[in-house]
Assembly symmetry: C2
DNA sequence: CATAAAGTCTACTAGTACTATAGACTTTAT
DNA sequence: ATAAAGTCTATAGTACTAGTAGACTTTATG
């Protein structure tokens, strides 16, 4: 049940890119070096991560002098779940309850398998949080993250 | 965010041991071979897992002819969370929100770190399910697993 | 147009964790 | 005495993680 460093760094970088820029204009553009310095991440490792995120369509980039990365969509439309899945794969703890990478666990009756039912609940609980938290949610107010009332 | 095979097999084995025995008397005793056959698990691998669980105080065993493993406590008093932690370690996706293996993530302000807050919610959501689901909950009724109303 | 600043892309590597497998040993019932 | 069971430790192959390295492309600008 863990978030890999790749996933952690990717999420941190995306959050940094979602932070409202010091100057007025919205889609902040940051360079790899700037992010790696701020977040204390190996810039070569971060480079790979940002490239992956770019190829997944979540980031745009500008090459050359004065270049950098910026979000492909508004921060309110990018969820942590999307980012997580690109970098760390399925949210589900076990394949047989995965929405994006289902695979049978080989147990005789999947429908009534107790372990599967519980792990399905775990998957849903995680996905509920990650898919309902956008980058904007993270940056604007760190306390009222959850949208659904009652799940705090 | 995944359950290792070790964790999966351990949970399956504990659930099998929690199943009300065909004959009347309660604490079912099963042999490694029997469980490994039923659940299609390498018996040598399962052996290690059960031993770990035994050394953690969750199982008792009887050596020699007619021996086997049985639950150390009633199925209603053993939670999936306890089993998971023995076999797979902390529930938290990231160290800085772990209750059992806390470690600073090194970010300047942990208290207001957005990522940390979200991951804390994830940790709590997972722990809520795993710590409130006992082996008895899994075996008696596979549908109404959750105790807390509203979190389904 | 030369240069430097930026991203792009691919390959490689050390370490660690996962998933077992092997085999010698101990205990116990019969 | 024997066979059925658990105990314990070591080892090994594989995959994944977390980086490192270096050559390449694009772009602004002096």
């Amino acid at each position: 049940m863990r978030l890999s460093k790749r996933g952690e760094y990717g999420l941190r970088a995306m959050i940094a890119l979602a932070e409202p820029s010091s100057r007025s204009d919205s889609p902040a553009m940051l360079q790899i070096k700037e992010i790696s310095r701020r977040e204390q991440i190996s810039s070569k490792f971060l480079e790979q991560i940002l490239l992956t995120l770019k190829n997944a369509g979540m980031l745009h980039s500008k090459m050359g002098v004065g270049g950098g990365y910026y979000l492909a969509r508004p921060a309110s439309e990018i969820t942590l779940g999307q980012i997580f899945r690109v970098l760390d794969g399925a949210v589900a703890p076990i394949k047989c309850v995965s929405q994006m990478a289902y695979e049978s666990c080989g147990c005789p009756e999947e429908e009534t398998c107790g372990l599967r039912l519980v792990m399905g609940d775990v998957r849903n609980a995680i996905a509920d949080i990650l898919d309902n938290t956008s980058l904007a949610d993270v940056t604007t107010r760190q306390g009222t993250l959850r949208k659904k009332p009652g799940i705090n």
